[in-house]
């Protein structure tokens, strides 16, 4: 018996000895020079810039395609021209005095990846295609709103609106080499939107591959398409510094190659590999071994990435997001809703309009431990938010008033709320958060713990729900309190003020929060061309929001990046999608 096993053991030993351990790269030596590898967790949705609306896809296509403008290095306000020859302004005559006509000179000598020259017609076609595709839950609304004056090409019945084509021809046209945009009303953030969206794509290549030919007769066929029907879904034909080599969906891997025909100096990297690796451990080990140059990792995992030889952690990088935010629902949909218990203020539930009482909201605001959240969950990184507009944006008011943990004040407000009935009878309801989101979960747990400590009759259940259930409850205003966040589409305060505080914005619509004073301020600030006056308006808006407390803003978050020390030239612009993890690869080199 034993004699029979021995050879097996010997074999195992031999195999084990042959196995290489992870070879850490020697100091000073660069592994895979010219090839930059980034490991991420998210899966790109589609490479079509008019279709995709997720950061993973956006990060990819911003290296393959180029929009009219781009933000200069780390700035979120100063633009440089890319496909445009210069940035239009009222000074250089590019923007008319009434702020409604933009004249954009286009760059010459730009070629697509296949060598064909880029023409003004390509730009016009690309912009029109971006607007007309308008797939459900896509990015088209971002430009439909300013250029056409309405956010969708289809009505509520799903039918195409009658005047879309006519309005579009009025809004987007060519005059020789110039692109002319005519707006129904002034829209201050337009240029910043054009700096992130609607890049130039090859019209000739598209038509050859069965896409829209640019005529009125056919456009409706390409409206709201299915994802995989677009030729740009898995292939790319742009002018960017990289071209797409391959998208392997089985292994979740994108391989980009340098575009040697690029109109500026060609990129320094020869190849870029972007690979989806779900398991954090694998990402970490590949970084450690030098097989990856940068990886995605969120705040809680930081300690595991510190002190790896040859790996640098760059921290305190600003973001253009406001997350997590606690939202109160003013008018909860009570129909078949288990979140609000008995539906009455009897200690076993809450009435549907529980949060419409300002004192309740203020009590919650004073019961949250902002400092503790930042020090524990965020490991002390980031600062407490002073309003809906993040620190990195122009309209942010650093002196804005903010709440802090004050349980005495919380108790005062609870005693006042609902004529004292809240304190007397107590309440019970459920806060939901979507699973697998640690910061949001902790926000709920802190609220629960602090508020239940005030009065034994206060009961809050915290429930994790899957994204589908969460979405369902959210859309139907069934969640008494919910925790969500907002990422910028473009770096303008309007992109936060509107969705968070305007009664037509996404969140107020669900919260059933409506205040004409807020609406007026949001609209006025958006139409205001003067930067300093805009700033004042937004400061006023934030002050109002402090008093009204429709939402609790918690943190102006910062992120960190882990990369190999041999990565050079990288810079962080918070508006770049997926930055600081993924990035604009053009300036990066490895040596």
């Amino acid at each position: 018996m034993i004699a029979r096993i021995r050879p097996v053991m010997r074999l195992i030993l031999v195999v084990a000895l042959l196995l290489p351990t992870v070879p850490a790269p020697a100091a000073g030596e660069v592994k895979n020079p010219g090839v930059y590898t980034y490991l991420t967790i998210s899966d790109a949705d589609s490479l079509d810039p008019a279709y995709s609306y997720d950061t993973a896809s956006h990060m990819l296509w911003m290296n393959l395609y180029e929009p009219l403008f781009q933000f200069e290095k780390t700035s979120t306000s100063k633009l440089i021209p890319l496909i445009a020859a210069e940035v239009p302004s009222q000074e250089n005559g590019g923007i008319s005095p009434d702020g409604r006509t933009y004249t954009i000179q286009l760059r010459k000598g730009v070629r697509f990846h296949d060598g064909a020259p880029m023409t003004p017609e390509d730009m016009k076609w690309s912009l029109q295609r971006f607007l007309l595709m308008d797939r459900a839950a896509g990015p088209s609304a971002l430009l439909l709103e300013p250029l056409l004056g309405y956010a969708a090409t289809r009505g509520d019945d799903g039918k195409i609106l009658p005047d879309v084509w006519k309005d579009l021809q009025k809004a987007v046209s060519l005059q020789g080499d110039k692109l002319i945009l005519r707006l129904p009303r002034p829209y201050a953030p337009l240029l910043t939107i054009l700096a992130s969206w609607a890049p130039v794509m090859s019209k000739a290549w598209a038509i050859k591959n069965g896409d829209w030919d640019g005529t009125e007769a056919t456009w409706q066929r390409y409206n709201n398409p299915s994802k995989e029907s677009s030729p740009f879904f898995e292939r790319a034909m742009g002018t960017g510094p990289f071209k797409l080599e391959r998208w392997d969906r089985k292994t979740k891997e994108f391989i980009l190659a340098r575009n040697d025909l690029y109109w500026r100096e060609p990129a320094k990297l020869k190849n870029v590999v972007i690979k989806g690796v779900a398991e954090f451990g694998t990402r970490k080990l590949m970084l450690q071994a030098g097989d990856a140059d940068a990886i995605y990792a969120d705040r809680p995992l930081l300690t595991q990435l510190q002190g790896i030889p040859g790996v640098k952690v760059i921290d305190d990088l600003p973001t253009v997001e406001m997350s997590p935010v606690v939202f109160f629902t003013y008018e909860i949909n009570a129909q078949g809703n288990s979140f609000l218990g008995s539906g009455k203020l009897d200690g076993k539930g809450i009435p549907a309009d529980f949060f419409s009482d300002k004192d309740v909201r203020k009590a919650f605001a004073y019961a949250f431990d902002y400092k503790g959240f930042i020090s524990d969950v965020m490991r002390g990184k980031g600062t407490q938010a002073t309003g809906a507009i993040p620190k990195s944006l122009p309209g942010h008011n650093p002196k804005g008033r903010k709440y802090s943990l004050d349980l005495k004040k919380a108790e005062e407000h609870f005693r006042k709320a609902w004529g004292g009935k809240v304190w007397e009878n107590g309440f019970k309801f459920t806060i939901a958060f979507n699973t697998a989101n640690l910061p949001r979960q902790t926000v709920c747990q802190i609220l629960k713990r602090n508020i239940e400590g005030l009065n034994p009759k206060f009961k809050i259940d915290v429930r994790a729900v899957e994204w589908p259930t969460f979405l369902d409850g959210y859309k139907q205003s069934k969640l008494p309190i919910f925790v969500m966040g907002w990422n910028a589409d473009y770096p303008d305060p309007h992109n936060f003020a509107f969705p968070m505080l305007h009664s037509k914005g996404d969140y107020p619509m669900t919260q059933k929060f409506k205040n004409p004073e807020f609406d007026r301020l949001v609209e006025e600030a958006n139409a205001e061309p003067s930067v300093s006056r805009r700033k004042d308006l937004y400061a006023k808006l934030q002050d109002l929001a402090f008093e009204e407390v429709p939402q609790l803003y918690i943190i102006d978050a910062v992120r960190y990046r882990t990369q190999r020390e041999w990565v050079k030239g990288w810079y962080h612009n918070p508006i770049f999608p997926d930055s600081p993890y993924g990035s604009y690869f053009y300036p990066i080199s490895k040596d």
């Binding site: 954090f280 451990g281 970490k284 300690t303 002190g307 524990d376 969950v377 699973t435 640690l438 994790a464």
Partner: protein, 293 residues
Amino acid sequence: MARLKAAWKVLKHRPMSLLGFGLIGFFLTVAVLAPVLAPPEAGSRDSYIIPQSGYSPDPVRPSKEHWFGTTEQQYDLYYGMVWGSRTAFSVALKVVGFSVCVGILLGGAAGFYGGWVDEILMRFTDVILAFPDIVLAVVIVAVRGPSLENVMVAVTAVSWPSYARLMRGDVLSVKERDFVAAARAIGASDARILFRHIIPNSIYPVLVVASLSMGRIVITAAALSFLGLGAPVGYADWGQLISLSRNWILGSSGNPFEYWHTVFIPGLSIFLFVLGWNLLGDAVRDILDPRQK
């Protein structure tokens, strides 16, 4: 009494079965004594919610204060293990009990009535058995929303068909026996024949298989929790506690086993619990089924 003595006689010579009894007895004691072993925090409304000390993401190694250390987000592992044993028993017993009942009733009906009842029920079990059970269970939990109850529903839904088929086979053979014919001859009702004569005489093989499958059912339920579809975060449940360790198996740089306790402690508990049931299942089979001796 004589039966118990006979059972003991069998067991006495089987250290493995004794080990099984020992393990389950141990977990049972822990479950019963949970309020003493790990008293809940004052003022907590649900003892199954694990107390948290702070919100820091890094697990903390075992110490005087936390005997088994803490997991991600500072859930006390010792508390979770102790109260989790109650969850484990409740899930295992409920799921097995319920799926055995469903299996006996439907399988019994199929075998007894035959014809189209049999055809429909058996084709239905064919369909369920054709699924990989984890995937079907995940679908069921995903559509009904993650919770411990739905995990039990899902595992029951994928487990009853095998009991039903076994039951049906036994009923088919018992049905032909003389005493059934006799009962029929004296005019007993269908229900009486089924419940008084057929089921009691064909139930043993199902019970044996049920005791043998206890372990598998615990594993399936724990797997759903591991995938994040079970109890809410912070609820004392072993499967969930082990899923909290997934990000930490590599340790920190320089110390790969820094967070060993987050995998090892809940993993060992699930393993010993399942092992206990499997050994116990073997013992039950040996006692009930003398052929296997």
